[in-house]
């Protein structure tokens, strides 16, 4: 088994499957598909992203929350699936936002989001610009670069070193915010598989009642997380 540089590690998929299998062996109601039955991220059919965008999203998520070190990464928690579903939903379409013109996309950032484009359109237009920048600056598409170069490229994107039209300037902040959302949101949204991110930090999820522990000062809470669907970890 060879792990390509910059590709989501196959070993991390395997690791995730083993960990999830342990979770799903608890005999309680599980309305969603067991982790073992979910398609691998490479076999997953995105609802919103095309194949090139999906390769980028997988590779970017794998650097924003990597799998090495302590705690699960964005890949084994299936954060890219979360982002794909969000793009296809109300968030991606800016369904709740005021999107009437006139627009002043280069306004003082303190006045907030001013792009005429909804987040899903921003991803769609910004990814190729960033990919071109990666090719010109680092000689290859983002997902083909080694991890260290990918981190340098993302840092340039974050710090404004990649020239984006003003209407795309929120791209990195959406990408990072959506990645963290997918990591920590309830698993029903597609990420945080097996509630691994909640286990990692010690958040008990949807338990919803801690009255008996309020005055138990400086003591580790003993129970692991539950999800909205009743899944436990």
């Amino acid at each position: 088994m060879v792990d390509l540089p910059g590709r989501p590690s196959r070993r991390s998929f395997l690791k995730a499957t083993v960990a999830s299998a342990a979770v799903t062996s608890i005999p309680i109601g599980l309305p969603h598909a067991k982790a073992a039955e979910l398609p691998s991220l490479e076999d997953y059919k995105p609802v919103y992203f095309d194949a090139a965008e999906w390769s980028f999203i997988l590779a970017a998520c794998a650097r924003l929350i990597p799998s090495d070190g302590t705690g699960p990464g964005a890949i084994e928690t299936r954060v890219p699936v979360f982002i794909d579903l969000q793009m296809a939903g109300d968030f991606g379409k800016a369904a709740d936002w005021y999107m009437e013109g006139p627009y002043k996309a280069d306004a003082n950032p303190l006045l907030g989001f001013q792009s005429p484009l909804a987040p899903a359109e921003i991803y769609r237009k910004a990814i190729p610009v960033f990919q071109d920048w990666c090719k010109q600056t680092h000689g290859d598409a983002f997902e083909k670069l080694d991890a260290e170069t990918q981190d340098a490229a993302l840092t340039s994107l974050e710090k404004g070193g990649v020239k984006l039209d003003p209407e795309l300037r929120d791209f990195f902040s959406f990408l990072l915010q959506n990645t963290k959302e997918g990591y920590f949101a309830d698993p029903m949204y597609g990420g945080n598989q097996g509630m691994q991110a909640w286990v990692h930090i010690g958040f008990p999820g949807a338990r919803g009642s801690y009255a008996e522990w309020v005055n138990n000062y400086n003591a580790e809470y003993p129970l692991g997380p539950v999800s909205i669907s009743g899944e436990r970890a």
């Binding site: 650097r63 924003l64 929350i65 990597p66 090495d68 070190g69 302590t70 705690g71 990464g73 109300d90 968030f91 800016a94 369904a95 709740d96 936002w97 005021y98 999107m99 009437e100 006139p102 002043k104 306004a107 950032p109 303190l110 006045l111 907030g112 989001f113 001013q114 981190d151 993302l154 974050e158 990645t179 963290k180 959302e181 920590f184 949101a185 309830d186 949204y189 909640w198 990692h200 930090i201 010690g202 958040f203 008990p204 999820g205 949807a206 338990r207 919803g208 009642s209 801690y210 009255a211 522990w213 309020v214 005055n215 000062y217 400086n218 003591a219 580790e220 809470y221 909205i228 009743g230």
Partner: protein, 589 residues
Amino acid sequence: MARQDPRKDVVVIGLGWTGAIMSMELAQEGLEVLALERGDDRDTVPDFQYPNIIDELKYGIRYGLMQKPRKSTLTIRHGLDDTALPYRHLGSFLPGDGVGGAGAHWNGQNWRPQEPEYRLRSYVEETFGADIIPEGMTIQDWGVTYEELEPYFDQFEKVAGISGKAGNLNGEIVEGGNPFEAPRSSDYPMPPLPHTYDADLFSKAAKAKGLHPFPRPSANASEAYTNPYGMQLGPCNFCGFCERFGCLNYSKSSPQVCILDALKRKPNFSYKTNSEVLKIEKAEDGKTVTGVTYFDEKANEEVFQPADLVLLCAYSLHNVHLLLLSGIGQPYDPATGEGVVGKNYAYQMTGGTRLYFKDKQFNPFIGTGSNGISIDDYSISQIDFAKEGFIGGSYITAGQTNGRPIQSMPLPPGTPKWGKAWKEAAGEWYGRSMAIGSHGSNMSYRDCYLDLDPTYTDRHGRPLMRMTFNWKENDIRMTQFMKARIEEIAETMNPDMIASGYKKDGSQYDVRPYQSTHNVGGAIMGAERKTSVLNKYLQHWDCHNLFVMGASAYPQNIQYNPTGALGGLAYWSAAAIRKDYLANPRPLV
């Protein structure tokens, strides 16, 4: 051609806290009351029930219970020469809509302002001299005193079911309560909530410094309680999904939990949802209003609803917007200082310091909206404005409200925002920090105001409202003073690291990060018709059968969360209508 519906005695615009209070009080008079709510109907079951409400993404991050800017928003600019741009998605403040309004998803921090706050300009002039008021600061008196309002604060606290401990009972200072509060005629209806570890550490540190910690007054119930309307609350379970969420447990005071079921049983009360009022209609004589025109979303048509009495009970910003759109009262002009509608918009000056402890576990997910211990040692009544060089004050608190990880993941200063180091820091530090916060006043200024935007319109084609607002030196000095006080306390607690976040010299208003949904002013109350929109009874100076509730009445912002004061004001106004106005409708002043 608008449909016209049968006349009602009273039409209430907005069914949040003040709409529910006014509907109940006037329904008790036997009047036919109709409430019009622009948002959806909502109740504990099914809208706030477990487990679906315990969904951080849907409610905490995507703002499931908040107003949708696509349907309703405003434009914002920093100064008179700037072009305002739309507040396209929510950030700095989160107005609600739907039955219960923001009263469904608030924290439940329930305060009474201090005595000097109702007569701030007079207090400053008498105590320190008029010359300490900076050029351009337009603070005013409320036109009503604490003594007049006290019975109505008491009434609201009993309806809402507030947990706390009195510090000043009829002038007598009570150990363990807030010694700097205004005198209360009775104690809180419930004892204080238990508090979490962070609050306990803060309390001990404050006490050791000779300060006066007390339990934060809380609209999260500490025990089983039945209010004067027969509505019942149960003790809070510290689920950590309070602010931004409806309460799953009948513990957080809200219009739903405290008023609405009792109100809905009254045959002379009815309400319509998805019914946004577009305009309050003025009578030809200009001295009264005839009713309202609203958009009935289900019927997809405009409706004229005639009424004898119109009560404007929407969120503060929408109260002002509706007055401007309806042409009721003279709009404020910052160039001349004339006019009143939109004048003295103010916000809330907040800041905080986070303390990181390697060896302490705070279990931040154990929390509730108004958990904690506060001090009022640096409040408006306690500060020498002349000496310190600012007008204002703050209360200081520790008490965790939530550990929802998307929103609340404070990591030590210097931690990268992503990558392996971020992930590992999240695992290491999630439970190992606490905060001490400053919640402070914000004065009003000549060039901070609300008017109609010249460019942007809403889905009904009406101009959006335009907010002109920025931070001012006086209030920045106030918050920097609080930073120094909080850091002094924090140091005595021996944290491994601290990180402070306060507005500083040159800070500009940033609409992106959440700060506070305490937008006040714009339809202010006062002693004179030339300088205020409403008289002391919240009655419109020009149209006597129009009363305007809410924090839009505050001539500058108090140092406290606004709900306790607007609840008390609503009961005060209701009493004036019931005892005096109904028998003889006229200007009460």
